[in-house]
Each structure stands twice: as structure tokens, then as C-alpha cells.
């Protein structure tokens, strides 16, 4: 059975299609594995198999972040306000996976409404990092990263608004891809910041990420901002990086990166050169303002999107003495956690009369500058590379009292989100945290121009092969 769990998704799917492997046996093996969850990574697990479809993902069990609506299955977004909520419909991304033959294995824990970088903002308790249970898995797709890293699911999907797929993938030692804004439909994905939210896969390797992206991407009449990738996505096969140019931002923010993370990053740059790729510095002068712009734009959009939770049509209601406004206020006070309240307040402030231009308006102009910086870099380069996260996984509770320190986790991931371009994090090695301790995974981020996912996956695949990351949680790493 262990053997079954070690197969890549691509391999299992091929074997199932060749009738060398039974769908029932494979699903059952994963269902039993998922039942062993000691990380608080699942909020719901399938007891039975749903109706099966044939297709390229036939028989592949998949874990779904609890931000995706699943018909008749509880969907909480990690929030108390949606406890027990059973949507009337299924998100397009999930529907496309199941139509391709995938089977929902469970719904994963997450930061409430996808707001957080540590999974500590879930109303249902934090997820633990399989490498070290006293550390965070990252967020907001912490549950999805932890189930893949902890062998509780063969693959998962999550969402990324400012780094919520890439950062947990990095902290858990798995692959995480944020596609181009619009590449996958947002229909049925509970909205956080609509101009930034993007669905994507978290997998053990790049080929599996390509397989899931291929099934999910495409235009959707239910999301008018969806684009689809022309020509679709094929299995990545590239083995070298000859003729490709990689830009390292000149303003990489030297003092904020942990020494161990920097060492792994630099070793990976050398690996790129060994594969024939060229490395040079490129200016991205506005990327350092990404956090400021993001933490105005995302909360502003969130404050509007979250206005719908009012205790009227679905979700929780708290009755109060007095009129309907009192009911709204009491419901929202009890239903939302601290971080969600903080962002609603921040966003409402940024949009309020007298402050709109100084905060929200300026942030939108910075967004233009950041996108222009990337466009300029892509005139000379194929990719921009950075560490995914400034540090390895940090301790539970270490940053919960300092919102700004928590936000700085997103320093390297937010600029790509603001520019709407695709970016992938692949495990690049292990490093000791500053202050010592067992070694933990480090992610390497590669960003590409909009809709250049195929080129991005091909390059990431070649680099992944050369790195040969095969460390697992629990092997002399304190897990």
C-alpha cells in the first residue's frame, strides 16, 4: 500500500487508464491515509466515492481547499460565519477536475477567507507543518500544502491572492503554482479580493501540477474574467535550460532573507547555469512597494466582498436587541475572526471618503508601476526568480501578535499577484532556520509573463530534475 501512496499522480492516472491499477483500491488507500490526519489539515473527508467519470484524471483522489463551493458538502472558508454551510452548486475548477475523472478526497483547512500566511487564522484551529508540528505550514492554503507534504493526499488545489499557494508550498516542501489571473475560472471560489484571487494546484512534482492545470484551465461563461490558455497545457518534458534567461531582481531585499534560504537560493542559481540558463540582475524598483499596495487593494476588495455575510440569506445569524442593523453587527462581530475584522477595517478605511485617493488610489497606481517593471524585465528575460519566502517555516504563535511581520512573509509573492502573472514555487533544498534547529524546506520561485504557463512548467520541470529534491518529513528533520 505504501507503494501506492508513493506513485506520482501522473503515474497513477496512466496505470488506472491501462487497467493495471484499480480505481477502488487506489482511492481506498488514500482514504485510509487521509483518515490518519494528525495535522488538523482536513475539515471534511469523503466517506464514499462519488459518481465516477472517465478522463485524464480518472481515479485520482484530490484534496480541495475549503474555499471552493462543493454542492451539498460543507464549505466554510475556514470561518465560523459559514459553519455548516452547504452550497447549492460546485465551483467550476472542482467540476472540471471531477469531470476529468478526479475524485474529491476531502476539504482542507485554511486561514479564514484565505487571509493569512500561517493558517493560524482558521476558526477550526491551526494546521501543523508535517516537517515539524510546532511550526506553521504557511497560508492561506496551509491544509492543501500539508496534506500533500504529509502524504494525506496525492495532490490538492488551493487559491493564491498574494502568495497563498506558493508560500505554503515552499514551507511544506511541495510544488505550488499560481497561474495567470483568469487562467482558471473563479466561479464558486468564495471571493476574497476579486482582482487578485486565482486557483491553482499543490502537488509533489511539476508534471502533476501541469496535469491538474490542464484539466482546470479554460474560459467559463460563469466568470467573464476567465481567459483560458491558448493551446492548452501539455506534460512538461524539457531537460535543460539552454537559451533561457533568468532575471534576479536587483532589489532583492538582502537583510530580510534568512541566511539558509539565501544559500539554497544561490545554489539553485548555479544549478540553472549548469543547465545552460543565463542569470543576470534586472531592476524591479517598485516590487518592494508590493506589500504596501497589496495590503490596501486586497483589504479594500475584501471589505466589499465580505459585506454579503449579514445573517440574512445563509450562514450564521446572531439575534440582537433592536433593529436589523444591530443584527448585522452582532452577527459579523461573532462570525468573523480577528484578522478578517482587521482587513475589513483596513479596507473600509482605505475606501472611505477623504482617504480613497491617498490610499486605495495610490495603491492602484503602484500596481501599474509594478506590472510595468515586470513587463520591462520580460523584454530581456524569460523568467524572474526569487526565493518564495524570506524564511523557512516559523513557529506556531511566533508572528500572531504582529500583523505587519506576518504580512512581510508575502514580500516575494505579492508583486506577481499584483501583476497578474504566473509563478511557481518548487522545493529547492533544506535549510536551518535563523537561530538554529532541524533543517526545513526552502522554495524557489519562478515567474513568467502572462499565459506563458507552458514555458514556466517546462523550465520548472528541468530544474526540478536537476535539483532532485527527495527529502521527506520525518527523516531526521524533527517531524
Amino acid at each position: 500500500m505504501t507503494e501506492l501512496l508513493e506513485m506520482s499522480v501522473a503515474e497513477a492516472a496512466t496505470r488506472i487508464q491501462a487497467v493495471e491499477l484499480s480505481r477502488e483500491e487506489y482511492f481506498e488507500a488514500w482514504r485510509e491515509a487521509a483518515a490518519q490526519d494528525e495535522l488538523n489539515a482536513y475539515l471534511w473527508r469523503a466517506e464514499d466515492r462519488a459518481v465516477e467519470s472517465d478522463g485524464p484524471l480518472a481515479g485520482v483522489p484530490i484534496a480541495i481547499k475549503d474555499l471552493f463551493c462543493t454542492e451539498a458538502i460543507q464549505t466554510t472558508a475556514g470561518s465560523r460565519i459559514l459553519e455548516g454551510h452547504r452550497p447549492l452548486y460546485t465551483a467550476t475548477a472542482v467540476r472540471r477536475l471531477t469531470e476529468a475523472g478526479a475524485e474529491v478526497l476531502g476539504k482542507t483547512n485554511m486561514d479564514e477567507f484565505a487571509m493569512g500566511s500561517s493558517n493560524e487564522n482558521s476558526a477550526y484551529g491551526p494546521v501543523r507543518n508535517p516537517w515539524d508540528r510546532e511550526r506553521v505550514p504557511g497560508g492561506s492554503s496551509g491544509g492543501s500544502a500539508a496534506v500533500v507534504a504529509g502524504s494525506l493526499a496525492p495532490c490538492a488545489i488551493g487559491t493564491d491572492t498574494g502568495g497563498s499557494i506558493r508560500q505554503p508550498a515552499a514551507l511544506c516542501g511541495v510544488v505550488g503554482l499560481k497561474p495567470t489571473y483568469g487562467a482558471i475560472s473563479r466561479y464558486g471560489m468564495i471571493a476574497f479580493a476579486s482582482s487578485l484571487d486565482q486557483c491553482g494546484p499543490l502537488t509533489r512534482n511539476v508534471a502533476d501540477a501541469a496535469l491538474l492545470l490542464a484539466a482546470m484551465q479554460g474560459r467559463d461563461p460563469c466568470d467573464s474574467t476567465s481567459l483560458g490558455i491558448e493551446g492548452g497545457i501539455k506534460a512538461p518534458s524539457r531537460e535543460d535550460l539552454k537559451g533561457l534567461r533568468f532575471a534576479v531582481p536587483a532589489e532583492l531585499g538582502g537583510d530580510t532573507i534568512e541566511a539558509g534560504v539565501r544559500a539554497v537560493f544561490e545554489a539553485t542559481l548555479r544549478r540553472i547555469e549548469e543547465l545552460g540558463g543565463e542569470i543576470a540582475e534586472a531592476p524591479l524598483p517598485h516590487a518592494e512597494h508590493g506589500i504596501s499596495a497589496y495590503y490596501m487593494i486586497a483589504p479594500a476588495e475584501a471589505s466589499s466582498n465580505l459585506a454579503r455575510y449579514d445573517g440574512v440569506r445563509y450562514g450564521m445569524r446572531v439575534e440582537a436587541e433592536g433593529d436589523v442593523i444591530e443584527m448585522y453587527e452582532a452577527t459579523r462581530a461573532a462570525g468573523f475572526g480577528d484578522e478578517v475584522k482587521r482587513r475589513i477595517m483596513l479596507g473600509t478605511y482605505a475606501l472611505s471618503s477623504g482617504y480613497y485617493e491617498a490610499y486605495y488610489g495610490r495603491a492602484q497606481r503602484v500596481r501599474t508601476k509594478i506590472a510595468a517593471d515586470f513587463a520591462a524585465a520580460f523584454e530581456d528575460f524569460d523568467f524572474v526568480v526569487t526565493p518564495t519566502s524570506p524564511s523557512v517555516a516559523f513557529g506556531l504563535g511566533e508572528k500572531t501578535d504582529d500583523p505587519l511581520a506576518m504580512y512581510m512573509n508575502d514580500f516575494f509573492t505579492v508583486p506577481m499577484s499584483l501583476a497578474g502573472i504566473p509563478a511557481i514555487s518548487i522545493p529547492a533544498g533544506l535549510a536551518e532556520p535563523d537561530g538554529g534547529g532541524p533543517r526545513l524546506p526552502v522554495g524557489f520561485q519562478i515567474a513568467a509573463p502572462a499565459l506563458a504557463e507552458q514555458r514556466l512548467l517546462d523550465a520548472a520541470h528541468a530544474l526540478e530534475r536537476a535539483i532532485g529534491f527527495d527529502a521527506k518529513p520525518g527523516e531526521g528533520s524533527g517531524g
Binding site: T225, A333, T348, S352, L404
Partner: protein
Amino acid sequence: MIEREQVLHVAKLARLRLSEPELEKMAGELSGILEHVDRIGELDLDDVPPTSHVVELENVLRPDEPRPSWPREAVLEQAPDPAEGAFRVPSPQAEA
């Protein structure tokens, strides 16, 4: 930087009831975050257009054809207080 009164005003706009300790904490935290954000005030952005959407999209149109809507009973099943085929809410003009 952000006063207690401002926090109260914004909370009212956002329909959030904050407890006294939450109010105090929120004022400090919002001030800290805004202080960081204020750095973008140093950039020259006068001639820079704002970006609200990163992908250039033209109007996305579809035929305007009638489709069935959700069954009323299924929708109301999710409601905290359904009554007479509708959502019931406290009166907007309740006696305080």
C-alpha cells in the same frame, strides 16, 4: 495616528461591532500598518494611471437567454430564518 473615534466610525461603516479591548487594539494595529503603507506617498505617481484589473478585456458578451433559477425551497433551506417563502429579518425600525 488613527484615533479611537475614527476606528468607531469605520466600524460603523463596516457593520462591525467591536468590543472595548478590540477597539484599542485595532487603533494601534491599523496605525502601524498605515504607517508602513505611507511609504508609497514618497513615490511620484502623478501621471501613472490606476490599475483595477490586470488583464485587458473587452466586453464579454453572451446571448441573453432565460435559464431556470435556483428552486426557492433549496435556497431558503440555507437561510437562518426563512418565513413565508422569504428571508425574515428584524424590523428596520425596531424600538431600541
